[in-house]
């Protein structure tokens, strides 16, 4: 809603103010400058701190911390886990991304209700906690290169299915993920669009989320990033932690192989 108001105001401003004045700097340079000014002092840090606390704090019906949660590299191993997710987990028999895996741990270790968490809107209650946890866990892998495992057959199927989702046009506007993210050097409005069919570079695309969104002052996890892409694509609603989102994340994550993680980033 913040976005709405500001967008409306911004439109008015553009109509009124922008007609004149050629800036000596290019628009791209000016936007780069703006982004650089924001990089120092990313409010994502506030969420990182909350996530670390949630990981170590005893909570839930079982009064347990998440310190024994297995994110794929063994119980309690946090560093490096982020850049290898989604991956296959034998104990659930599924490919899981970071957030759905966290929900599994919150259910199994802490006794919280996973289905309830999955239904909770982003930014509220336990869902806000999942986002904070994901933010901290991502931060613990900052600078590490993405290297998703593809040895389990389930992981390879997830990649192939994810590819099909990536290229799936639909909705009222015929948009697929590839409509915006299938080529290099394109923008939507002034925002650069990474080509996500390959490694788009360090700290770009899959390697940038979770990210703090300046436009609404919210911390956005990868699940929410994909959710809102689908909203803007005019698609129906993708369920939190659904197989479709996990498969799509697997496709993006495998393509990002070698890209160094910059998450949690700060975004427009």
């Amino acid at each position: 809603m913040m976005t709405r108001t500001l967008v409306a105001l911004a439109v008015a401003g553009l109509a009124a103010g922008l007609a004149s004045a050629q800036s000596p700097k290019s628009t791209t340079q000016s936007i780069e400058e703006y982004r650089a000014m924001l990089a120092d002092g990313n409010p994502a840090e506030l969420f990182e701190a909350k996530g670390e606390d949630l990981w170590k704090h005893k909570r839930g019906p079982k009064n347990a911390s998440l310190e024994q949660c297995d994110l794929g590299k063994g119980p309690g191993v946090v560093k490096g886990a982020f850049v290898e997710l989604p991956r296959y987990f034998a104990d659930t028999g599924k490919v899981q991304d970071l957030e759905s895996r966290l929900v599994t741990c919150m259910e199994r270790l802490q006794g919280l209700n996973g289905a309830e968490i999955a239904k909770t809107p982003f930014g509220r209650g336990e869902m806000a906690n999942v986002t904070a946890l994901a933010t901290w866990i991502a931060a613990e892998s900052r600078g590490l290169a993405f290297n998703l495992p593809q040895s389990a057959p389930q992981e390879r199927v997830a990649y192939e299915v994810g590819k099909r989702l990536f290229f799936m046009r639909g909705g009222t506007h015929d948009f697929s993920c590839a409509s915006c993210h299938g080529e290099e050097g394109k923008r939507i409005r002034l925002q650069d669009l990474p080509n996500l069919t390959k490694n788009p570079g360090d700290g770009v695309g899959f390697a940038a989320w979770p990210a703090y969104r300046v436009s609404n002052g919210q911390m956005w996890s990868m699940q929410l990033r994909l959710n809102d892409c689908y909203r803007q694509q005019r698609f129906p609603y993708p369920e939190f932690g659904s197989d479709a989102l996990t498969a799509l994340s697997t496709y993006l994550g495998v393509n990002a192989k070698g890209a160094k993680s910059a998450a949690p980033a700060i975004k427009r």
């Binding site: 809603m1 108001t5 120092d40 002092g41 409010p43 840090e45 506030l46 909350k50 703090y212 002052g217």
Partner: protein, 103 residues
């Protein structure tokens, strides 16, 4: 209770650079909710900072300071090991103080 701040204080030259992130909605009082009702203003009004217990900074803020505010300032003569504390107060009377050691 409000979430903690993130404060970094680094000795640099003859003082310390202090960077603060505060967790606050900074609601302007200009926005409307889905039902068309104005969301009341809720923002930090006063910020103070102290160096080893002595106040060095006072500021007044309005609702136009961005959500989850960022503040940077330089404390003269602060050195590694010194304490920097920051306090904010909002228009609902909520307040929060956090302290760090200069590194």
């Amino acid at each position: 209770m409000a979430d903690p701040m993130r404060i970094r204080a680094q000795a640099q030259g003859s003082g310390a650079v202090v960077r603060v992130l505060m967790s606050h909605e900074m609601e302007t009082g200009q926005r409307k909710d889905a039902a068309g009702k104005t969301i009341p203003a809720w923002h930090i009004t006063d910020v103070t900072a102290s160096h080893n217990g002595k106040q060095v900074l006072a500021a007044e803020w309005g609702p136009a300071v961005a959500k989850n505010p960022f503040l940077q300032f330089n404390v003269k003569g602060a050195k590694a090991g010194d304490k920097i504390a920051v306090t904010w107060k909002d228009n609902k009377g909520d307040t929060r103080t956090d302290e760090v050691t200069v590194s």
